[in-house]
Symmetry: C2
């Protein structure tokens, strides 16, 4: 049986998240329907992770098993013609049978984007959180530095997290400004439920001057969600990239 | 009575064009509703020109007359809080009573954008025309050069144009490439119905090698719509800017 790994981008605005839910349109549901139309097979795809309702992806990854003999290089175009316009498959690979899009993932990178313009850019309104009052981005960057490394991120995940332990490693994190647009990039070995959004919600307190950047350290050490800030809006968040060891192309 | 001139941006995807129509949601209709909510006045706004269904604007201009005493710098925020999210007012100015957003306009600039990537960028899909086969942009640029200057553009306007004469002046026009993205910029003293889209539809024939760039000259001289190419899709088109002489701020 073939194992196919696929890189997919989607505009999260029209979805009730990545993963199939009892109600609402989901990315997984639309992709499984397209595979069914193409191959006739009923399949369950394995995503590298969920994204919440409204969250976007430039490079989400999933894999699935199939008996189809469609050539590797034809999958992307064949699926795109059967998918709605807010999901675009970028590439497909044949991978070894043991490859698992979630368990085999080594690094994930997210970006959270804020528009600090007086009024929002209308063409970016669904991809950026509009925050028209000034932000101290240098202080936010200082706060973010405390999160790099291996830590217990209990303070920065939803109380509804179902994971048995909350230790994750952040490899890199930084802020980049382009005029009124502020991006936070964050790369780690994995992210807990709502983790990037709670980090951003807390750093917004720092950027607004409501909290010193050094308090991020004590919030992290407190291991208590109630110490951190609110969960930032989903539409500013984008799953940029998921990396695997070189086996994926194997 | 005050005459207020307003710069507005909108995402054309959700509108049946700028101008009020018997059916469908229009930019003009939404703005007039917002003015009514704010001032209580029933007014008809004067746009610098219409944009078709699906066409976007980064810098459309309009003016309207009002008895309201709202300070100049408060209009943008006051209207934005009463407008849907796909219309964003950028600035408002008090202008002399004789200022007319259409008749006083000196230069307009449009941009038409093509995504030549194998698959469309999902986040730009509503703002770029996806053309996945190769385009000879140098040949398109050569063809475009024949249109710069003062000409009768009958060949490049809809047969439904209601204008008494079709002579317009193109001041500047060029193509700019950024990776797979191709922009055409075109600045003139005014544009006829569908003019930028017919120019692009014809230049696409040139870019695809179906026509020599020099044929643009004979099509122009033929003054017959049937000589030119199809009307390109509306969603790639953006009204970038409308310029006035310095009187606007007067």
């Amino acid at each position: 049986m073939r194992n196919i790994c696929v890189k997919v981008s989607y505009d999260g605005a029209g979805f009730n998240g990545f993963q199939t839910q009892p109600y609402g349109r989901t990315v997984q549901g639309e992709i499984e329907k397209a595979i069914k139309k193409l191959t006739g097979e009923t399949t369950i795809i394995i995503g590298s992770g969920r994204t919440d309702a409204g969250v976007h992806a430039q490079g989400q990854m999933f894999n699935f098993y199939t008996e189809s003999t469609i050539p590797t290089e034809r999958w992307a175009i064949a699926l795109n013609t059967r998918l709605p316009k807010d999901i675009v498959i970028i590439e497909a690979y044949d991978v070894p049978e043991h490859f698992h899009a979630r368990r085999s993932a080594k690094r994930k990178t997210y970006r959270y984007t804020i528009d600090t313009g007086k009024f929002p850019d209308v063409f970016g309104r669904q991809y950026r959180f509009h925050h028209p009052t000034p932000l101290n981005v240098d202080a936010m960057r200082e706060g973010l530095r405390f999160l790099v490394g291996k830590h217990d991120f209990t303070s920065f995940t939803s109380i509804h997290s179902t994971k048995p332990h909350h230790v994750r490693t952040i490899y890199e994190a930084d802020f980049v400004q382009e005029g009124p647009i502020v991006h936070m990039y964050i790369t780690g070995n994995g992210f807990l439920y709502n983790m990037v959004r709670v980090i951003m919600g807390t750093l917004l307190w720092v950027g607004e001057g409501k909290m010193a950047s050094s308090e991020i350290k004590s919030i992290l050490e407190g291991r208590n969600r109630s110490l951190a800030g609110p969960t930032a809006m989903p539409h500013g968040l984008m799953l940029l990239d998921v990396e695997y060891s070189s086996e994926k192309q194997g």
